[in-house]
């Protein structure tokens, strides 16, 4: 294709989700944007002290980006911060939550497949964490991310036989993709028992706005239950454990701030 056949440069609005250093002074950044999806691009000389783009390409920064088509990877030509999420970056717990969401996005997204719904969701979670939302908004993100990526959890009827579910403690089976009735339990493989209250939280998250879910009061036990249930579905869907989940657990074990 000749250069005149397509624009040499293009603009996009994206969140930096990952950085890898390359050679002496270059870095490769993974960006997640609304109209381009997830992609890698290279920033030349970005690790030099006088680089103009340095601060605008930090992970967990939302930036307006200009890129030039390259032979293998596209090259950043300009970057301007839209939102630096400073409060997130200056708080260890919120950094850990935001990085967990970023790794989820990275793992579930295919290269250059736009997913504007997931992008809007990701940005809304970063905005919420910036505005001191409680840690359980991450669970809202997990549930909605699964739905936006085609892995919606079946919560209304049995995920195996499509029968009615009794209003009782039920098994959530990652392999079956949702709640499983008593009769189907043996067929559904490994699962995690989830309480009636836990199921209600999941059903609420599905229909609620982020603000409404953030306002939900959950005791520590219920929050842990919902977190573990969703995490088991995420691990099953991605077929791997997330690196940042270990970091979240590390941070949770630290002595509380004074």
């Amino acid at each position: 294709m000749t250069l005149s056949a397509r624009a040499r440069v293009y603009k996009t609005d994206g969140v930096i989700i990952r950085r890898r250093n390359l050679g002496e002074a270059d870095s490769i950044f993974t960006v997640f944007s609304g109209d381009q999806g997830k992609f890698d691009a290279i920033a030349r000389g970005v690790r030099k002290a006088r680089s103009h783009m340095r601060g605008h390409l930090e992970p967990l920064t939302r930036s307006s980006l200009m890129l030039a088509h390259g032979r293998t990877l596209d090259v950043f030509t300009q970057a301007q911060t839209i939102h630096a999420y400073r409060a997130v970056r200056e708080d260890l717990d919120r950094t850990a939550s935001a990085l967990y969401c970023a790794e989820l996005v990275d793992q579930i997204s295919a290269e250059r497949v736009p997913n504007p719904e997931l992008f809007a969701l990701f940005v809304s979670i970063l905005d919420a964490l910036e505005g001191s939302a409680p840690a359980h908004v991450v669970q809202y993100f997990e549930l909605r991310l699964l739905a936006a990526s085609g892995y919606e959890i079946q919560l209304d009827r049995c995920a195996v036989c499509d029968g009615r579910l009794a209003e009782e403690e039920t098994v959530l089976s990652p392999a079956a993709g949702g709640l499983v009735c008593r009769g189907c339990r043996p067929a559904a493989g490994q699962g995690r028992i989830i309480s009636v209250r836990g199921i209600k939280v999941l059903r609420f998250a599905r229909g609620a706005t982020l603000e409404a879910f953030a306002g939900l009061r959950m005791d520590a036990g219920l929050a842990r239950e919902v977190q573990a249930a969703l995490s088991s579905v995420v691990v099953h869907t991605l077929e791997r454990e997330l690196n940042t989940e270990r970091h979240l657990a590390d941070v949770a074990r630290l002595p509380a701030r004074d």
């Binding site: 990952r18 990085l99 590390d250």
Partner: protein, 200 residues
């Protein structure tokens, strides 16, 4: 195999190619350069590489790389042992020393926490730092990790670990580098530079 360079050269190219920042073409160029230099120069290079591996150890106090244990910074009685400057890598000590404004001691972490790449606190020399602070005599720990997301996260992590031990944990200030352009400065740096402004 036919057509390739003789085996010793191929092996040298292969070794250079493993170095960071050296691609296959540069590796070939370096290997053929070595072939042309006098034998004593090549021997000096080979010995320098071996010496680094055989004679350099980690300082048992600060984890700096050194030929003698403890290292020269830890042995120097004129340095203030009550202040520890924590850096990511041994090279950073040279940078702080060049600045000439610090007369305390050091601690090298040998990395930063990088959650996305699965590098956690257990991969760093953190336990040694905590032991040093626990042993007493330390009043202040200066976190001199890079002002990147990973460096900040590491500094906050260490602060949370050391906080209960009653030591003062400080962070290097963040602001504009000399020769910078305000126009291109990112929002966080500029905001912090404003917060840290000083009367003239």
């Amino acid at each position: 195999m036919t057509g390739g360079p003789p085996e010793p050269i191929a092996r040298l190219i292969e070794s250079f190619n493993r170095l960071p920042g050296i691609g296959p073409k540069s590796a070939q160029r370096l290997a053929y350069h070595i072939l042309r230099v006098p034998e004593h120069e090549a021997a000096a290079l080979a010995n320098a590489i071996l010496d680094v591996k055989q004679r350099i150890v980690l300082c048992s106090v600060c984890m700096n790389i050194t030929e003698s244990d403890p290292c020269s910074y830890c042995q120097d009685p004129r340095r203030d042992g009550s202040i520890i400057c924590v850096v990511e890598q041994a090279l950073d000590i040279l940078a702080v020393e060049r600045a000439g404004a610090f007369r305390g001691r050091y601690h090298v972490l040998h990395g930063v926490i990088n959650p996305m790449d699965g590098i956690g606190p257990e991969h760093l020399r953190l336990r040694e730092l905590i032991e040093r602070v626990r042993a007493g005599g330390v009043e202040e720990v200066i976190m001199a990790t890079n002002p990147s997301l990973e460096g900040e996260a590491t500094a906050m992590y260490v602060q949370r670990l050391l906080g209960p031990l009653g030591v003062k944990v400080t962070r290097l200030a963040r602001g504009l580098p000399s020769g910078a352009d305000l126009e291109y400065t990112d929002d966080v740096t500029l905001a912090r530079a404003l917060e840290g402004r000083q009367e003239m």
